[in-house]
């Protein structure tokens, strides 16, 4: 387990405050939080130590290796992770698992959050967010 304290000044970037604000404004958020406690080490050992926060512990984001992962938050999965002294935010939209390539920046969720980072993302074209809503007829 990793217990290294990092030098992140959370107050400076106001990240945690915004995250908490987001949590408070979305009562279903907590319900949607999915804590991954036991991932196989062959999947995660190389980059993330085996510490996984519960939602209640998420105020300890200043510690390296801590992360929380949620599922289906405002159409997306979100991971907030501390790695090598940097808070990383990963937003996976619904197509991530299918390999359609959907890691999208959603600044409206956590405004002014640190830049997104991800392990690897190569796309030959432009990625565009269309403001129109997916059309569905209600019966």
């Amino acid at each position: 387990m990793t217990t290294n304290e990092s030098n992140i000044d959370i107050e400076d970037i106001h990240y945690q405050a915004r995250l908490e604000q987001h949590l408070n404004q979305n009562p279903l958020f907590e319900e949607r939080v999915k804590i991954i406690k036991e991932l196989p080490t062959n999947v995660i050992h190389d980059e993330v130590e085996e510490i996984y926060l519960s939602y209640q512990q998420s105020n300890k984001l200043s510690q390296d290796g801590y992360y929380i992962e949620t599922s289906k938050v405002l159409d997306s999965s979100i991971r907030v992770e501390v790695r090598n002294g940097t808070i990383n935010c990963y937003y996976f939209d619904g197509q991530f698992v299918a390999g359609h390539g959907a890691i999208s920046e959603k600044k409206d969720m956590v405004s002014n959050a640190p830049p997104l980072k991800y392990s690897s993302l190569n796309y030959s074209g432009n990625m565009v967010n269309d403001p129109s809503t997916t059309k569905v007829r209600n019966i």
Binding site: K72, F92, D93, T134
Partner: protein, 176 residues
């Protein structure tokens, strides 16, 4: 080459949302590697309703998957946890829908029903459906194009004038 993602349409009563993605050009390639892939994908499904795409899994022996519209529902459970995949768009204006549950404690039950011309199918409310066809009726409403429907309040009776295909997505509370 542009990949356009529309805003998700969410239905709290159904505990489902759906999002459309459009790939403008054949030959587009998206490749990604994740250090911590999601291990369970029981609550996310996609399908291609226009065009086609190929999914490869480099560095593995997993067979390449090809989807042409109206495609099978993907991904299967075997894709969960994959660290590396590559998607190649096979036709211009390829379009996908991705359906997912809004709440993690629900899994997504997905199925496809074929309705032959002249036949009908009844679907109980509480689900999201996509009907692939150009001549059918839905609760006696004449429909002439493929479309997504949210069955929030009413059951559906689909009658195929020409044969059609119905994708059905329903959120099911997980049995822990």
């Amino acid at each position: 080459m542009t990949r356009t993602v529309k805003v998700a349409n969410a239905f709290s009563n159904l505990k489902l949302s759906v999002i459309e993605t459009i790939y403008s050009s054949a030959g587009e390639v998206f490749e990604s590697t994740f250090s911590n892939p999601i291990l369970e994908n029981g609550n996310i499904k996609t399908f291609t309703f226009k065009g086609g795409k190929k999914i490869e899994f480099p560095d593995t022996e997993q067979t390449t998957e090809v989807y042409y519209a109206p495609s099978l529902i993907a991904p299967g459970p075997i894709i969960a946890g994959k660290k590396h995949f590559r998607v190649t768009i096979l036709q211009d204006d390829t379009r996908d829908y991705c359906v997912q549950t809004l709440i993690a404690t629900y899994s997504l039950n997905a199925s496809i029903t074929d309705i032959a011309a002249g036949n009908s199918s009844d679907i109980t409310k509480g689900c999201l459906i996509y009907i692939h066809g150009t001549r059918y009726t839905l609760n006696d409403i004449i429909c002439t194009e493929s479309e997504l429907f949210a069955l929030e309040n009413n059951d559906a009776k689909i009658t195929a004038t020409d044969s059609c295909k119905v994708y059905i997505f329903r959120a099911i509370l997980k049995d822990y």
